[in-house]
Amino acid sequence: MYRYDEFDHDFVQARVAEFSDQVQRRLAGEITEDQFRPLRLMNGVYLQLHAYMLRIAVPYGTLNGKQLRMLGHIARKYDKGYGHFTTRQNIQFNWPALSDIPAILADLASVEMHAIQTSGNCIRNVTADHFAGAAADEVADPRPYAEILRQWSSVHPEFSFLPRKFKIAVTGAERDRAAIQTHDIGLHLKKNAAGELGFAVYIGGGQGRTPMVARKIRDFLPEADLLSYCTAILRVYNLYGRRDNKYKARIKILVHETGVEEITRQIEAEWQELKDAQLKLPEADIRAIEAYFAPPALAERPEGDQAVKLARLDSKGFSEWLDQNVVTHRHPDYAAVTISLKGIGEVPGDASDSQMDAIADIAETYGFDELRVSHEQNLILPHVARADLKAVYDALVGIGLATANSNLISDIIACPGLDYCALATARSIPIAQEISRRFASLERQREIGELKLKISGCINACGHHHVGHIGILGVEKKGSELYQVTLGGSADENTSVGEIIGRGFSSEEITDAIEQIVETYLGLRLDPQEKFIDAYRRVGPAPFKEALYAGEAKAA
């Protein structure tokens, strides 16, 4: 994986020193909160309901064991023994004291981590396919490009005060696991007819109160032009993006108001000025960054097939986990493993300090010291020999993280909601927990099949409800929590925004409503192979509305 060079080390150390000084001056009363707030936000420090919150960047979701162990150490020493993995592949701590943050940042810097640009109106952590470098279906590893974007966007003087935050995602496969069409810029790494690498470029996707699917503005951008083209997009956005209304300040609104043809014309015109200048990426530089992401040397382990076959016979639990949480690797003797942070009734995305330590051990022992955070709030071991899968499974069972529910209804994305978040209008986590408990039977979950359920506790949509096959949005109505349901959203290569199905449900009603929706789907699907999203796209909302609200209409 990427190793800091001298420049990176100096840059992060300098930032730790600078922010430590700012914290000291704040605590000494030398600077006001109004002066300090933008400084702390630039360093990932928020103020939530109960305490400060520190959001730490995990660039493109890639971690090693040492880094995860350090996160466990921070959880133990400075926080309350756990951390929360987020949909930007980051991690948040919910209870740090401001006075401890300089020490936390110094600890992070010692393992090449930081919290820079995890907040503020700048280019945020660039996300990538969590199976990058391992997936059987990828054209190339997207992370070198994410790293190039990270280097370019870190304290970029022109793009540190954008109209609003700016998010970029990169995928290297046709099957989009990075939700690129919900991003300000989505990049799909591909090859052209000549076999050269480049990108399909999407802009203007986003969620929040005005969800929009990104528009493709280029089918193939040569890799050498990545930075010049992104610069052109950001320049147009920085110049014309609205600053008068924060709810209309994202690039999606600019794309919508300007029209995709006109904004593409503006971007292309800007790009003509830039494309042959210093932002053109030299081939040698791309390949040098790529070398940092060279896959581990994967020795032949042909004994895996037999080992897996025997272990399957031996353990039903292993067999189920294998079917659900283990995916094909580009090397036939290996597999990529999803460590579900969605145990039945648990808080989605939370891991304890001891779990982090144990996962670090597993990664070091069986996973070539590589880990990923997925935007679906799980952890990934991207390279595990099939021969070692049973040992990994057993180790995960030992720490309560072997729930075989990847991509099933209890693999829920949920924002922190009103239990933590100062912006939330309703709780998300208890709803996720109750739905998870209702569908606790893995047999029933498998019978239902792939179903992406996503919950947000306010319209900002951090829980990605707009793109859930089933989405739940919590709002406050007359002092109570009310949950609106959307159906038909999706965040893959066929991205769509879900439709509101009807009146909302109280916290007591919502789980029943979800069950009703699921039962309706089971009743109308053509066969068990027809997934929820496909069935919904075939039949539309009517049968679900009927199931949920017909009784009311008759009663009225």
């Binding site: 605590l27 400060y52 004291a97 401001l98």
Partner: protein, 97 residues
């Protein structure tokens, strides 16, 4: 009725103004029953903010239940107790101990 709440600067912990200082629990927060009392609390909050003792200062609705002050809104109830999903965290943890 209103009470004055904020988060302490140094550690961000939620606090309520009570009996001339900032208390870590809401139970005995100073109650304002009229506009003049609201103004008095607001002035105290503004002064503490200016003195860098607290941040995010707010006057919120409260009621008295069984002799103890409680916030009215769910958001503020959660601030006063801790996450509803983890009874071992926040103010409620100390109360149980």
């Amino acid at each position: 009725m209103k009470i004055l709440t904020a988060n302490r600067l140094t550690d961000g912990i939620a606090v309520w103004y009570a009996d001339g200082g900032w208390a870590e629990t809401v139970d005995h927060a100073d109650l304002a029953h009229d506009k003049a009392a609201d103004d008095r609390l607001e002035a105290i909050g503004a002064k503490a903010y200016a003195a860098n003792e607290v941040v995010d200062v707010n006057l919120i609705d409260a009621e008295v239940v069984n002799g103890v002050v409680q916030p009215v809104r769910l958001r503020e109830k959660i601030r006063a107790a801790g996450p509803t999903i983890r009874n071992d965290l926040g103010k409620q943890a100390a109360r149980a101990a």
